[in-house]
Amino acid sequence: MKTSMIIAAREVREKARLFVICAGLSLVPFAATLLPGARGQSADVIAIVGGFLSAILGLGIAVTFGASTIVRDLAERRMSFYFTRPVSAPAIWIGKAAAGLFISLACFAIIATPSALAARKAWATQWLGDIEPLSVAALAIVVLFFLSHTMSTIIRSRSPLLALDFLFAIAAVAALYLIARPMLIGAATDLARIVLTAIGIAVVLVLAIAPVWQLANGRSDIRRSHAALMRFLWPSIAIVLLIAGGIVAWVIQVSPADIVVRYVGQPPRGTAAIVTGRAPRAVDYHATFVIDRASGASKRMGTPPWWGAHFSDDGRVLVWLQPVGTFSLQGVELHTLNGATGIVIPLSSSIVLSGDGARVAITNGKLLAVHELATGKLLASAAGLDSRARHQVFFLTPDVVRVFEYQQQLRTPTPLRIFELDIRARSIRKTGERMLVTTRQAVSVSGDGARMFVRGANVIADGRTGQTIAEIAASDVSSSAMLFDGSVALVSYGRGVPHLRTYDRDGAPRHDVAFPNVRSVWIAGEIENGKLILTVHGRTMCVVDLASGSIEQRLENVRGPMPHWSTDPRLIRYAADQEFVAVDKNGKLIVWKNEGRASARPLLSSR
C-alpha cells in the first residue's frame, strides 16, 4: 500500500498543474452571466454552465487518464521503468488508478463546487437534486476511467486479439440481452434493475481488478499485457453473466402455487383461467399460467396477459402473444395451448378471438387482418385504418369483424368511425360515423352488436351506424358497460359516493345502488342469469341482481374475475353456473360461485 501511495503521489505531483487550470475554469460559469442573454438569470446560468463544464471536463479527464495512465507507458515501452523497481504489479495499478481517479474527481469537484455553492437552489432545480447529480457524475467518472483503460489497452496493442475481443464483446452484449429479455417480458422492472445493477457493479469490479492481472502477467509488453487482460476480463465477465443468468433462470422458474396472484381472467364458460402473479423471490417478475380449475393442471405462458390474450367463449381455445424466438423483441407470435401458430405479427398488434375460437382478428397500425387459427391462413385483410387511432374490434359473426375507431381525446370532439370487414367478400366498409369526446375504451357493445354505449358522451347509439338512440343523464362516470341485452350499467359519483345505476335499452333509469364508504366500484362482468359482477374498493366482489337492483352476494377480500386484455368492446357474460377463479387477500387462488353464499374455496394449495 505504501508503494501504491508513492506511485499515486508521483502521478498527482506531476499533474498538479491541472488543478490550477480547473480552478481557473471554475470561474467560467460566473463569467457566463455577463453575456447579454444571461442577464436576470444569473443563478440558472451559473448552475447550467457549471454543471455542464464540470461534467464534461471531469468525464473527459477520466477518459483521457484511463486511456493513458498505463497504456501510454506500455505503448511507448516505458513500463519497464516500474518493472525494474521493487514495485509489485498490484501496487503499480492501484497507485496509478488511484491517482487518475483522484485527479479526475478533484478536477470535477474544483469546477463544480463554486457554482453549486453560489447557485445552490438553481443547481438543485436544473440538475434535479443537490447530491444526486454529483454522485452520478462521480460514478460515471469512475466507470469511464476503468472502461477507457480496457478499451485503450485493446485498441493500442494493435494485436490480432482485437478480433476476439470484438467477438467476446458481442457475445457479452447478447448474453446480457438474453438475461434481461425474460425480465422485460415479465414486466420485472425492479428485478431487472437489481440484476442489471449487480451485473454493472460486478463488471466495474472486473474492470478495476483486471489490470492487476494484466500487469502481473503482461508486464512491460503491450501485446502480452493485452493478452493477459483478455485472459482475466472475458472469463470473469462470462462468470458474472453466467451467475446472473443462473439467478434469473432460477428466479423466473416458479409454479402457480408459488405466486402471489395479481390477475385472473377467465372465459364465459369452461374451466380454464389465466393467472398472473409474482413469486416473493422473483421481486416484481410476473409469471403467467393457464390453469384448469377442475384438474388443477397448469401450463406456463411465455408472456403476461397484457401482451394480448383472449379466450374463446367456451374456454377451449386461448390465444396469446409471445415474442418470436430467443432474441427478437421486434415481432410477436400467436400461441395457443397447442403451441406456436406460426402467425407472426408486429409487437404493437392487438388481437381478438372469434367466439368459437376458430379465427383471430389482428389490428396493427393501418391494417386489419383475420387468420384461421388452426392453419395460420390469412382469410382477409384490409388497410386504411387510422394508425394513430384506438381500435376496438370484435367478431359480430364468424364472417364479420366490426371495428370502432376513435382518437383518445379528452376535450376535443373527434370522429368515431365504425367499419365492418366482410371476411367472405374480403372487403371493408365504413358503416357509420359520429363525433364524440372519448375516453379510453370508450365503446361497449351489446351481445348482438346492434347497440353500443359511448362513455363520455353517455349515449346509447346504433352499433352499426353510430346514430344516437337515447342519451343518459349521468355525470362523473368511472365505469360503464352495455349489457348483453342492450341495457346499460354505469358507475357514477354523487356527493363522492359511487352509485351503480342501471338503464333499460332506451336509456330509462331502472335502479340506483349506492355504495357508501367505498372509494371505487368497477363493473367486472355479467352473468347469464341477470346478475352483474362488481369489484368494490378493489378487494370485494359483489353480485347485483339486475331485476331487483339489490346486492345479492358479497365476498370480502376477494378479487376476480377481471377483464380480458383484448380490444373486444363487449362485457364478458359468464354462464349461470360458472365458477369464478379469484384471488384472496394473500394473493392465493380461490374459487367462488354465484350461489347466494359469501364463501369461496381455495383452488391450489401452497407449497
Binding site: 508521483r10 523497481r85 521493487p86 514495485v87 508486464r219 501485446r223
Partner: protein
C-alpha cells in the same frame, strides 16, 4: 554463488523465436558481457532475466530466486539501465530521485546528486527534455544510487559521448567489479568491454553460441596463416580464406602441438585475436 542463472530459456513473440533455449550462469562478482548483433535477442534475454517477460520455456533466477515470481523483491537488489530511456518524460530529474528514494532501502541520495551534477544535468529539468546521453546518465545515476548487488546494463553506451562512454567503462563498471558487484552488460562497444569483462556470451539468432570466461576464449581463438591448403589445418576453424598462395584461418580450439606440427610442415605464423575479432568470427556471417 550464482547471481544470474538462466536455464533453457526461450522467448517468443508470436511465431518468432527471439531467444532459443539459452542457458547461462553468471557468478557473483563477475562482469558478464552479452554480445550479439542487432536483433540477436539480447534485450529479450535481459527482459526475461529481469522478470519483465515470461519465457515461453525455461526459467530465469536472480540470486537463486525465480525472477518471474519474485521480481518486485529482487529488484531491491538490482540496478538497471534499460536499452531505451524509460522514465516518464514529464518527470523532473529531482522527482525521479525522490521517487526512487521512497522505493529503495539503500538509496544514496548523495550518490545520485553527485552524478547528476557531474554531468551538468539540471535537477529541475524534465526527463523528456534531456538528450539521449543525459537520459542514460540519469538512468545510470538512478541505478547506481540504489547500491545494487547486480547491475544490469542493456546497451548503456547508446547515445553517450566519448567522455561519458570512457567514464562508464573505466570508472563505473571497473569500480563495480572492484567492489565485487556483479555486472551484466549487453554492448556493441567490444573494445571497451574487453578490458573489463571476465565472462562473455555471444547470442546469434537467439541461440547462445558462446559462453565462457574471456581468458579461456582468448586462449581458444587464434589467427593462423600458413603456406598450405586449408585441409592441412588439424584444428577447428571458425573461418578460412585464401592468404596469398596459402590459407588464413581463425581457429576456435587452438592447440600448441597441432600448430607446431603445422609449422614444421609449412611456413606458419600465429597471432592472438581481439574480442571484436572473435565476435566477428563467431557471429559475423550475414544472415541467410
Amino acid at each position: 554463488m550464482t547471481a544470474i542463472a538462466v536455464e533453457d530459456v526461450s522467448v517468443r513473440y508470436g511465431r518468432r523465436t527471439a531467444v532459443d533455449g539459452v542457458t547461462l550462469n553468471v557468478p557473483t562478482g563477475a562482469v558478464y558481457a552479452l554480445l550479439g548483433r542487432n536483433g540477436a535477442g539480447k534485450s529479450s534475454l535481459v527482459r526475461a532475466l529481469l522478470g519483465q517477460l515470461q519465457p515461453k520455456r525455461g526459467k530465469a533466477a536472480l540470486f537463486g530466486e525465480d525472477v518471474w515470481r519474485h521480481r518486485a523483491r529482487l529488484m531491491q537488489r538490482v540496478g538497471v539501465v534499460a536499452e531505451e530511456a524509460d522514465a516518464p518524460p514529464e518527470m523532473r530529474v529531482r522527482d525521479l530521485g525522490w521517487f526512487a528514494s521512497k522505493l529503495y532501502a539503500n538509496w544514496g541520495q548523495g550518490s545520485f546528486d553527485q552524478r547528476i551534477a557531474r554531468f551538468g544535468i539540471a535537477r529541475a529539468a524534465r526527463f523528456g527534455e534531456l538528450s539521449k546521453g543525459q537520459k542514460k546518465q540519469v538512468a545510470l545515476a538512478l541505478a547506481l544510487a540504489t547500491a545494487p548487488e547486480l547491475l544490469v546494463l542493456d546497451d548503456p553506451t547508446l547515445g553517450l559521448d566519448v567522455v561519458a562512454r570512457k567514464s562508464l567503462f573505466e570508472e563505473v563498471i571497473a569500480d563495480m567489479a572492484d567492489r565485487g558487484i556483479t555486472v551484466f552488460i549487453t554492448t556493441h562497444d567490444l573494445g571497451a568491454i574487453e578490458s573489463i569483462a571476465d565472462h562473455v556470451g555471444v547470442l546469434k539468432d537467439g541461440k547462445l553460441v558462446l559462453d565462457e570466461p574471456l581468458e579461456t576464449l582468448r586462449g581458444r581463438f587464434r589467427r593462423i596463416r600458413f603456406a598450405g591448403p586449408a585441409s592441412e589445418l588439424a584444428m577447428n576453424a571458425a573461418s578460412t580464406r585464401a592468404w596469398g598462395s596459402g590459407t588464413e584461418a581463425i581457429v576456435t580450439n587452438f592447440d600448441e602441438d597441432a600448430f607446431e606440427t603445422l609449422r614444421a610442415r609449412s611456413a606458419a605464423e600465429i597471432s592472438t585475436l581481439t574480442l571484436e575479432e572473435i565476435f566477428v568470427a563467431v557471429a559475423g556471417e550475414e544472415r541467410a
